[in-house]
Each structure stands twice: as structure tokens, then as C-alpha cells.
Amino acid sequence: MDTRIDFYPTHEHCGYKLRPGKPYPFGASLVPGGVNFSIFSRDATSCTLVLFEKHAAEPMVEIPFPKAFRIGNVYCMMVFGLDCENIEYGYRMDGPRDPGAGHRFDSTKILLDPYAKAIGGRDTWGAKPDWNDKFQYRGRLVFEDFDWEDDRALETPIEDLVIYEAHVRSFTRHPSSRVKFPGTFAALVEKIPYLKKLGVNCVELMPIYEFDEFENSRTNPGSGETMYNYWGYSTVAFFAPKSGYAATGKFGMQVDELKNLVKHLHRNGIEVILDVVFNHTAEGNERGPVISFRGIDNKTYYMLTPDGYYFNFSGCGNTLNCNNPIVRSMVLDCLRYWASEYHIDGFRFDLAAILGRDPWGAPLPNPPLLETLAFDPVLGKCKLIAEAWDAGGLNLLGSFPAYGRWAEWNGKFRDDARRFLRGDTGMVGRLAQRIQGSPDLYEKSGRGPTDSINFVTCHDGFSLYDLFVYNDKHNEANGENNNDGSNDNFSWNCGWEGDSDDPEVNRLRRRLVKNAALLLMVSRGVPMFLMGDEVGRTQKGNNNAYCHDNELNWMDWSLVEKNAELLRFFRNMIAFRRAHPVFRSRTYFRNRDMVGSGIADISWHGTQKWNADWSDGARVIAFMLCGRHAKEGAVRDNTVYVALNGHWDGLLFSLPAAPEGESWHIFANTGLDSPDDICEPGGEKQLVNQGEYFIGPRSAVVLVAR
């Protein structure tokens, strides 16, 4: 044991040796011979540390913080001689009980430390909690001795990313996944070869912070199944990985298991972005449980109405008071912790518009939290991605305060791409903007195409396959009379609602899925798609499957074989994008020749070459990317021609000439059946007729010149 005098006990309580603690860092930190406990509360009148043996119903000791152990608004104390692997800790706080003034102290409750790095109490997914337990979510101590070897964040240039949005449990829970520990971080490691072969180089994990799947859980009256807080967009503890996602959760080793996942993803060139939910917490409104913040300092942590009720900009009962300096520091500490301790490559912020509101809910012109995150040194190389709207009606798409760092989920790409793909008119001009990385949204504020995360599907809404199988949402299984979920899906069922036996209908659906993949991969910006889209995963028309721990969410791995055709198309499209720098840039097209190649960086065409039809009735657009303009002329790439025919008829396209000495070769044509729909990059065959090409109904084509 370290014998330094500054780690020598000076006080004692019931046999536990103590010393005044250090206020920083907040949370429980291991120090020589003991643990430093530190917690903030502005309005508490007293604070008590409550220690349990692991799983015990009653505390082993309660240690009130002596008066001398409070510094400002921080209670801090070192406790020596604890068996760090076998204790759980919480706090009691006393203070005013005056909800009208914003105070909801209750010393009968044992509170979770907001900085707890691991949580006991929900060790195994779906294991029914003991609701009589007086301490539901128990802070645990964490060792930071993981063997990272030489791992670090990959720092892949953002323009080179292909993002795969996945849910940890859903990805491997289905029996067809054939993994040792289904639904866990460990199982995801087993599936890395699949991701690598698919070609994605970034996984965006839906929430993995500790949440309670039993929050608002209920029984489906139809099926008798339990409906959970399955996706996890409701955080219990911001610093702790979800124990139930770890095969080792029952041993308290979720931290190591997640780190092991990150390390192995990195080893395979795959970045990890976490979907983080800082807009609200699992405590809900005034009728919700007292877990942590509410009992520690309600008035600091939550946005409150003048009479002490909870503002609900999140649609989930409460709103975290993110632009209060204390909360802002917590968010910053949290992200720094994940970036440094877990080597996380980036963060996607759920309902991020909330993070730009002041403590009274008004949008701020210069939100300190967003600015602080953008300029933070530890987060300096992390990707920061905003869902630029919230549930309170604030939509900052294109105007999110970016500080040169923030990218956005581009909801307009999703909507315009969907509408073009299903054959709406009036979309050609808008689609041209989306293909270029949405300069109409971002250029005027000095931003670039990589600020646009392009997607057609994400966890919210239809899966890609369902987008072309259902006109309407079918959320009956959610038990809310089909009232939940978005009504603006811009989907098209191809003439039949639901699964079809008609081979022509199914052929068309596959083609539309391929068109979407193609459009995503040839557009400037950062492509993202949803887990399973590459194999035609269905949610049976459910566009809000947040509560289902069943096949509505689970990835059915038998589709890998059944829809091998789609998987091959996705793989080759991704490989094509990654092989051709002409698609990937941090700057916008200028629509003119910048390098003396004789043609513009991007030129627009229609069924007639050099003559795009921008009229409202058009359903066709084609464009050519000049290979000599790749990376602003810094590298030489092939020239590529892409034609999108959204019309129900096949059309003859006259082709612009390939660069001198080169000829057009066909890479993809979604109008052809597999395996002629696409080839391996580099294996393209020369077109017989270099002047014209017939493109079938609702089909897309990619040609490459060489």
C-alpha cells in the first residue's frame, strides 16, 4: 500500500477510515488504498455516502460527509480499505422539499451517482427487477486497467466513412445469428468479419449507456409479450455502459467487454460512433421515479417551468438543462471519458437541437455547450453529429451551430431521396442538391458536404425494404392504436401493401432498394444506412419499433443467404465508393472546370446528354463526375457517369463522351437481374454502344470511363 501521507486516514466512522476527499474528478475514483467519492449539489443541506456489499438488500454502512468534507457545493471524501470489486454505492441527500421552487430532495431515497462508471441492478437483459429493492441502479467502481495495446481512435477522414447504424442487441439476438452470446458486445465481435466484408468502416451504435429496458415496460394485450424500452433512448447513467448488453454483465465486466469490442473493431479499420441521449433522462416528469438527478439537484439538472414542473422538449417527460454550466461540464466530462477511456471515434447526439436551448427553453444564437464541445481538446478529433431537431418543434437542419465541427443527420436527403425514388415529380432540382452534399443547406454558412450525413433510412421510420413494401405505417403491435410513429414516410408499396407473391412486384422492390443504395453511395456527403438494409430486413411495416424485443427489431441472419443479391449489390456499391475518391470530398462541386480538363467537376445530363430536364414534371437526372477533379484535382480518378431514371418507363439516354482515349464501362445497372446488376469494382465491361444506353423503368446506372 502507498504510504504517502496525503493518502493517510484522518477520520473514522463505524470502523471505516476516512480522509477529506478531492473535489475533482467528480464520481468515485480509485486512489492508493481507497476510493475518492465526490459529488456536487448546490442546494443539499447534507449528504451521506451509502455503501452496499454487491447485491445486498441493506447497506453495509452509511457514512455522512463531515462538515469539513464539503468544499463549496461539492461533497468529497476518501474511504479506505474497501473491497473495490464487491461494493456498490449511492448517496442520500437532504434539502428543501419545495417542488414549486424546483427542489425535490428526499433523504429516504438512495441516489445513483451521475458519474457512476458502471451500474449494478440490471446486470442481465430482461431479468425481472426486484421492484421492492430500495436501491435499483447501483453505482459500482471501475478499474481502468484495460489492455489497449497500441489501439487508439482511427481518425478516418469523415468523407471516407460509410456508417452502419446498429442496435447492439438486435444485431445478434436472432437465433439465426449463431453466436456464442447472443445480443451482447461479445457477440458483435464475432460479427466483425461480416461488417468488414460488407465494407462499412464505421458502426454507429444506438444507445449503449445504461438504460432500463423495464422503464414503462408493459404487456402487449394481443400477444402477451413484454414491450420494453428496447432501443434505450432514455439514459439512466451517462458514464456507464449497459450491463445487459454484456455477456459478462453478471460479473460486472461490461466495461472491459465493450472496450474489447472497440479494440477489435478498430483492428479491423472500423470506427465506433455512439448515439448519445443528453436531451432527457429516465426520471421522466414529476410522476417519474427518483433515480439520481432529481434527488441530487433537481433545479440544476432539469429545465423547469416557473412553477417547478418539467419542460418537455424531448417528448419524454423532462429536459436536461444542458446549458446550465454544471450540466454542461457533466456532458463534457462524459464525452471526454468515452473518448479517452473507450477510444470512441465520434458521437451522434439525439435530438441535439435541445442542446442549443437556454435554461428556459429558448433557442440560443451561440449555445455554450455546442461551442465547448466543438473546441474541446480531448474531443478534438472526434466526429460530432447532430440530430438537428427536437420534439419541441425546433428544427435547425442546415442552421445548427456548427463551429466548423458539427455534422448533421440530413433529414432532407432522406425525404428528397425517398420521393425521387418512388417517382414523385418536382424532385429533380432538389435531388441534384442532395447529390452534391446539400450546398443549399450548408454552403451559405461556410460549411461543407461532409456536414451532411446522408441517409435514406435510420432506426426511426421504415427499414429500406419496408419503404417499398408499405404505403402506410403498421404500428398496431406497439399498442397505441397505430397513432405513434411518423405519418410522413414518402414510401411506396409497389402496388401491394405488405409481402407479395407476385414476382414482378418483388423484382421492382429489390430494384428500388438497389436504387437507394446506389444513390446513397454516389452522393457527396457521408453515407449511412440501417443495420439489415443490405439484406432486406423487414419490420413488417412498423416505423417505430422502439419497444420490441423480437423479430421486428432483430436482424434475421438467414436473409444473408436469402437476399444475397441485395447484399452483393450493397457490398459492391460500397467498394466502388471507397475505390473512387471522386465521390469523397470535403468541398462542394463548383459546377465548372477547375483543373483544365475541359469539363466541369460535375456536369448535368438527362435523356439528352448535356441537357438536364429541370422542369417540375421530370423524373430523370444524370450526372458526370470528372475524374481529374477528384480531391480538388489532387488525385487522378476515373470519370464516372450516373443516370437515375425515376420514370415507370424505360428510356434511351444519350451519353456524354468519355474522356479522350477512354470509353464507358458499365459498373451497375439496377434494371438488370442479378448477377448482371453490378460487378466488382475494376471488373466493368465495355459498353458496346458508346453513344446511347437504354435504362429500364425505375432503374439506375453507373458507368466508369477508362
Binding site: N86, D145, D147, K180, F181, T248, E257
Partner: protein, 106 residues
């Protein structure tokens, strides 16, 4: 719970045999054995676990410790792990960090 730890060294190889159940209360004995082994600067550390019935997270922590204490050049073998012990190694991903063997011959 009881744990017997015996150590044997020859040349560049240190062998540690674990017998019993490895939880937090007895993990110190194992840790001491690893620390002593590290002093000898072996090229290979072989841990026989065929008689180990159970390993808690405290045991895994010491494996992590061993790996870091010895350095990346030292080969670490875990031999004969089975049942719950093997499962714990696999779940935590530690099976990928060491040489996991059914049997060991010099």
C-alpha cells in the same frame, strides 16, 4: 473458497497451476505468483487452468495485469480452461489476447 497456486520455472518459461476457485477473496495469491514470475523476466508464462472450477472478474483482472506487467513480447498461454472459466474468458474477449490451448507440451 480455496485456491492453490503452484509455480514452477525452467529456463525462459514460468508455469503457474491454479487449483480451486478464483474469486476476489483469494485473487491476491494469484497476483503474487504473477508478480514473482514477472521478476524472472520469462519469455513465456503458462497458466494451467484445467483444475480451476470458477473464475470471477478479479481473476480476469489479474490476467490483464499479467499481460501488461510482462510486456507485449511475452507469450501468455492459458491451458485447459473449461466450463465456466472458458466461458468467462470468451465473453470478456480475453481469449483473443492470449494463446488458449487444450493441452501444453514443452
Amino acid at each position: 473458497m480455496a485456491l492453490n497456486v503452484s509455480t514452477e520455472s525452467s529456463g525462459d518459461v514460468v508455469k503457474i497451476t491454479l487449483d480451486g476457485e478464483l474469486d476476489a477473496s483469494v485473487s491476491g495469491v494469484f497476483r503474487e505468483a504473477v508478480e514473482k514470475a514477472a521478476v524472472q523476466k520469462p519469455k513465456r508464462l503458462v497458466m494451467f487452468m484445467d483444475k480451476l472450477a470458477f473464475m470471477a472478474s478479479a481473476g480476469l483482472r489479474i490476467l490483464i495485469f499479467a499481460k501488461q506487467k510482462m510486456g507485449a513480447d511475452v507469450q501468455i498461454y492459458v491451458v485447459g480452461a473449461q466450463g465456466p472459466v472458458l466461458k468467462t474468458l470468451q465473453m470478456s474477449g480475453f481469449d483473443r489476447a492470449v494463446y488458449l490451448k487444450d493441452a501444453y507440451t514443452d
